[in-house]
Assembly symmetry: C2
Homo-oligomer: 203 residues x 2
């Protein structure tokens, strides 16, 4: 797209470039989205632009759980209906969404905003661990569920937190590993299958 030979209108080239910066969007998809917006009525593009601006201008981090919110504390932390003895630690705000969709968890959350990853230069000090520890000092929390991702970085983070939290006398748990519901045993990888065997339960 950066070919001077191609007379692309500057605003078109600029949006293609901006969209290409988003994860999973290459130059071809960016061009398609740009020309799609060009064909749509102006208010539609304006609505998108304003939504992008509002995202940064009108959101804050909840000072308790560190989740993205409009108010501090966020609705979950403020809710009298949530169980304040249980804290679920997740990597990203999207993970809260996934857990809330189950409608089975009624405790509070804590968002780390990442996972320990030496390769990407992310150490414990870059995560919201200090905030987690200060929350736990209140003594209200009895169980911490480590719900980091079941991958290398998530496991390393869970391990790190476990070592930090067990000495505090807290119950520290981890989400169960096993076969995904609706999955096929035949296609399960060895590690998942091993975990499913280890974690097998009585009927």
């Amino acid at each position: 797209m950066k070919d001077g030979f191609i007379p692309l209108a500057a605003p078109v080239a600029r949006l293609i470039e901006e969209l290409s910066k988003l994860p999973g969007i290459g130059p071809k998809t960016a061009a398609r989205l740009t020309y799609y917006l060009l064909r749509r009525p102006a208010p539609e593009a304006t609505a998108l632009a304003e939504a992008v601006l509002a995202l940064k201008e009108k959101t804050i981090l909840c000072s308790a759980c560190q989740n993205i919110a409009e108010a501090d504390p966020c609705p979950i932390c403020a809710s009298p209906e949530r169980d304040r003895a249980t804290l679920c630690v997740v990597e990203e705000p999207l993970d809260i969404l996934a857990l809330e969709r189950t409608r089975k968890y009624r405790g509070l959350y804590h968002v780390l905003h990442g996972a320990i990853s030496p390769l990407e230069g992310v150490g414990p000090e870059q995560l919201r661990i200090r905030e987690l520890l200060s929350r736990l000092q209140g003594g209200q929390v009895k169980e911490v569920i480590l719900a980091t991702n079941p991958n290398l970085e998530g496991e390393a983070t869970a391990m790190y937190l476990q070592r930090l939290l067990v000495p505090l006398g807290l119950r520290v748990t981890r989400l169960a590993r096993g076969l995904p519901v609706g999955g096929d045993l035949e296609y399960a990888d060895e590690v998942t299958l091993t975990r499913a065997l280890e974690g097998r339960q009585e009927f």
Copy 2:
């Protein structure tokens, strides 16, 4: 996402909704993009929002070729180096980009902004055909290359234009159909292979 149960900050929900309207972007991708933007520094989101706004505010249609441009006439129509006797008719501005990338075409363009599609309620009157005909009245154009897409709608549009243009005494041509370069004969569909056979050329 439209679940009242899930306490999603309104600006977050709003951007997810706006992004979901884009073609090829479902609610999950929209959520991923939204949280990606949340993690990025504010100027990056602002740059994206401004690029979306500028797209509509700072572009016009070239009154000659109907392509998206910043100036009227657009750089191609204004260029003294382009061959004014040849006009290539395309469906969308992106098609011009593809043709310019070949660096082999030196004529002018005309963008129809769509193709005839009875199923989608697009008739010839919705396309920029009137503008095409008034351009051809000047008598400068000797050849019209119909470069609509090689699909049902594109073929119907080309057929329609051909009937309209041949009586005007113009040379009307169509892009060659055949095997895509780098493709594999084994995987070519019958229609393409038939066209490749019909259009075979001497070594």
